[in-house]
């Protein structure tokens, strides 16, 4: 694709010959690596078919889409849906909630697997280590429905285990699930419980790649465990941490639909409504296809901008970026 685009800048006179030599070059490349390309073909087709072609549907964000007029004949309204969205009071609410949930995740959830894998790395008894690892992986395989169900079982006011305990201890019951002050923290805690173990896999692999001679040398120099963690292990996996952080920043606008949708209720909707639930409600439930596409498009554009920014900053500070 890129090579073809390159032709545009080539002067017309030379175009013919250049094209031919380029053509030949591409062809021989293709011929040489044909098995690799064949291997990659399903992936390329997948991305074209399911990721790039559907892009064209984004046009409906700029029109009043009606299924029976189709994408081409629906009325063109330009930025009307965006105007409606930005002038809506809910916009700030959605933005605030989305950012708050993501930032809390970044602050608490993101470092957690790193700490966990550092601790696991220090465990000497390998049987014990494996058992712990398996146990912390398991929640990753539960669906959000199950996690939400468990949370309700533990925290609900009429029959939640925690509240029953409080009652036995003579304390007042607490409406955890309907408390808007603690809702964000509850989401973060859920995410940590579910995904922290899974997150350690990458970090443990990175730690395993650290040259053991370094830490042996440090031991000889009299460094203790914490010193080795801080001065050897952490710097060695810094690149991995940066890359994951950049990826995480790119998804700052995605708070995960299922979790929020399952945990929300009338009492906390003010702090729980995020872009994803809003798009679902106005698009799928109320059938405002164009409007919800506009909202979704806005969200994606901000996501792309953020990931580019984070990547730029990472390179600026001398780290390796993602691209």
């Amino acid at each position: 694709m890129n090579t073809k685009d390159g032709n545009a800048s080539v002067p017309i006179l030379e175009a013919h010959t250049t094209k031919r030599s380029l053509h030949r070059g591409v062809w021989s490349d293709l011929k040489r690596d044909k098995y690799l390309y064949v291997l990659g073909l399903p992936g390329i087709i997948y991305f074209l078919l399911f990721k790039y072609i559907p892009f064209s549907g984004l046009i409906i964000a700029f029109e009043n889409y009606s299924p029976y007029l189709g994408i081409l004949k629906s009325q063109w309204v330009g930025f009307e849906h965006f105007q409606r969205f930005f002038s809506n009071d809910d916009f700030y609410l959605l933005l605030r909630n989305t950012l708050a949930i993501s930032l809390l995740n970044l602050l608490f959830f993101f470092p957690f697997p790193i700490i966990l894998s550092l601790l696991l790395n220090e465990v000497r008894n390998s049987v014990y280590k494996r058992v712990i690892q398996s146990i912390v992986y398991i929640p990753h395989f539960f669906s959000w429905v199950i996690i939400a169900g468990l949370t309700y079982l533990m925290l609900s006011q009429s029959e939640g285990l925690v509240n029953e305990l409080l009652e036995v201890l003579g304390m007042a019951k607490i409406g955890f699930l309907t408390n808007s002050n603690s809702f964000w923290m509850m989401l973060t805690a859920q995410s940590m419980w579910k995904e922290a173990g899974w997150g350690t896999i990458i970090f443990l692999a990175a730690i395993a790649g650290v040259d053991p001679q370094l830490s042996e040398a440090a031991t000889v120099d009299g460094a203790g465990r914490f010193r080795k963690m801080w001065h050897i292990t952490l710097p060695a996996i810094r690149n991995i941490i940066m890359i994951l952080l950049i990826l995480q920043l790119g998804s700052i606008m995605d708070t995960g639909f299922e979790q929020v949708y399952l945990m929300t209720n009338g009492a906390v909707s003010e702090v729980s409504d995020v872009f994803d639930t809003y798009v679902y409600r106005s698009g799928i439930q109320q059938g405002q296809f164009s409007y919800s596409t506009a909202v979704g498009l806005f969200k994606s554009v901000v996501g792309v901008a953020l990931i580019c920014m984070a990547n730029f900053l990472a390179k600026r500070f001398g780290q390796e970026g993602v691209f």
Binding site: S66, P67, Y68, L69, G70, N88, D90, V145, Y152, S156, Q157, S158, K173, G175, L177, T178, S180, L262, N265, G266, A267, S269, E270, R281, S282, I284, Q285, Q286, G287, Q288, F289
Partner: protein
């Protein structure tokens, strides 16, 4: 989103992945114009593709014996995709968005923006000229037809539902009332006293204060808003104009009433997060003395309780009175759900589809769909249909499975159930008679507008969510007053009310549905 409350309710609504593959039709348009009801049809069966909402967990398939019998009697080949209630809105919206509509399109509400705009774009057949040819359909009640007209035309075939018996309204433990020496409540004050006694008077006699008056989620208490405002639906008719209930002064009183119930522990402490299933568990588990449910639940719950408590009985309230002695009980427009036929279907096929629908409104085919085959799935005793064990095995359900296509005629679906005890059945009949005298109409039935579709869901949600906070004590009633005052000044709110009133007046002029 939807102005009228759902007639029955759902469990934790988890959108399940559910394939929407609608089999394309190999249309065999043999227009069968044979005699009505029982058919001695010849020729090839008509193939009909449709997707219908089904409340049952065990959904019936085309190898079912009743299904086969239905196809035989109506000379059709039915390709039905059942859609679970919990995900119906999403499934329908996806179908509408893709433009891939089944030949017989079922919708739960005809007042949604998508349906209205598609109708105005001419996507569906205007069935007005055809209907007179179908005798069974013409026997449906007048209001069923008039309430389902859109712009004065019959674009839809309404799915019949009795005018009263549905909707969320209290059912109460009669045996608890008797034990505590209380009368059936007639006003909200009475109801408060009853719920208080149910909570504090140890009605289950185990010596512990472990019962609550009423189990419910937020929507369960909507009837209080209707009783106080003396109207059905979500709009109040005053001096020839309609006003949204949420901003009415009486709704503030209703909110404080619910708050009082909550503060005194007479209703579920976690009403903000409860779902229908937990409410049913509470009443079936002898923990709550009341719930707000459609009448059909009175047997479902009573039957379950009677397994251990032979005297238990849940009885549906006939009505509740406002302080001005105006009675209220929820009502429908005489139908629940409706069918439309897209224009891509040929005229001759339209006629055969209508013929099929018409069969279902004949007593025989209606009975077949809802009760199964006589002598196999039910027997007639004293004019009543008593279901056999086989009915459960073959997934025969009144108003469910094949009964989802046409719910039963008359009042059977709200007073009768499989295995219902005689006393409960007789009581239900009495309650229906009483309810028929007490229901209030929804003035905004069938009234829609653009601004309503666009802005109302958000405004409504804002107020509903705020109500929860007031009930839980997280916000004060003063803050609520400020919110309502602010909403009344909101430009979008004003636009909705203005457009809705214009649409209301137009509808009154067309249908002559005055006060």
């Amino acid at each position: 989103m939807k102005r009228r409350t759902r007639l029955t309710h759902l469990t934790l609504a988890v959108p399940l992945a559910f394939s929407l593959v609608l089999t394309a039709c190999g249309g065999s348009d043999s227009a069968s114009n044979q005699g009505e009801g029982e058919s001695k049809t010849s020729g090839k069966p008509t193939e009909i593709t449709t997707a219908i909402m089904n409340y049952e967990a065990d959904m019936v398939g085309e190898d079912n014996v009743v299904w086969k019998e239905l196809e035989k009697r109506t000379n059709t080949k039915l390709k039905i995709t059942w859609i679970p209630e919990a995900s119906f809105d999403e499934k329908l919206n996806v179908m509408l968005a893709s433009g891939d509509l089944p030949e017989l399109t079922y919708v739960e509400s005809i007042d949604t923006p998508q349906i209205r705009s598609l109708i105005s774009q001419g996507v569906f057949w205007d069935l007005t000229p055809f209907i007179k040819d179908y005798p069974n359909m013409n026997k449906l009640p007048k209001e069923t037809w008039s309430n389902s007209k859109i712009d004065g035309k019959q674009y839809v075939i309404p799915r019949y539902y009795p005018i009263v018996g549905g909707g969320l309204f209290p059912i109460l433990r009669q045996d608890w009332l008797d034990k505590l020496g209380l009368k059936t409540p007639e006003s909200l004050d009475d109801l408060y006293q009853v719920l208080k006694a149910f909570t504090e008077g140890d009605p289950d006699g185990n010596g512990n204060k472990d019962t609550i008056g009423m189990a419910g989620y937020l929507g369960s208490f909507n009837f209080i808003f209707n009783v106080m405002n003396e109207t059905g639906g979500a709009w109040k008719l005053r001096d020839g104009s309609i006003y949204p209930l949420i901003t009415e002064d009486k709704s503030r009183e209703a909110l404080l009433y619910v708050k009082k119930l909550y503060d005194e522990g007479l209703i579920s402490p976690d009403l903000a997060i409860l779902k229908l299933n937990q409410v049913l568990e509470a009443v079936k588990g002898n923990k709550a003395g009341a719930a707000s449910l459609s009448m059909a639940y009175s047997w479902e719950v009573t039957g379950e309780l009677r397994k251990t408590l032979p005297n238990a009985e849940f009885r549906a309230l006939p009505y509740l009175k406002s302080t001005n002695d105006v009675k209220y009980v929820p009502a429908t427009g005489g139908f629940y759900g409706a069918y439309l036929i897209p224009k891509k279907v040929s005229e001759s096929k339209v006629k055969s589809i209508l013929k099929f629908l018409d069969y279902g409104y004949s007593q025989e085919v209606n009975d077949l769909a809802n009760y199964g085959i006589k002598g196999v799935h039910y027997n007639e005793e004293n004019g009543r249909k008593i279901s056999t064990e086989q009915a459960n095995k073959d997934l025969v359900k009144v108003g469910g499975n094949l009964g989802s296509i046409w719910r039963p005629l008359g009042f059977a679906q709200v007073i009768d159930s499989v295995g219902i005890a005689n006393d409960v059945y007789e009581q239900n009949k009495k309650t229906i008679d009483e309810r028929l005298k007490s229901y209030l109409k929804d003035p905004a039935l069938g009234v829609v507008s653009d601004a309503y579709n666009k802005f109302w869901p958000d405004i409504d949600k804002k107020v509903t969510d705020f109500r929860v906070k007031v009930i839980l004590g997280q916000e004060s009633i003063d803050a609520y007053d400020q919110l309502i005052a602010k909403i009344k000044e909101d430009a979008n709110y004003k636009k909705v009310v203005e457009e809705m009133n214009a649409a209301y007046k137009q509808r009154v002029a067309e249908n002559g549905l005055g006060e």
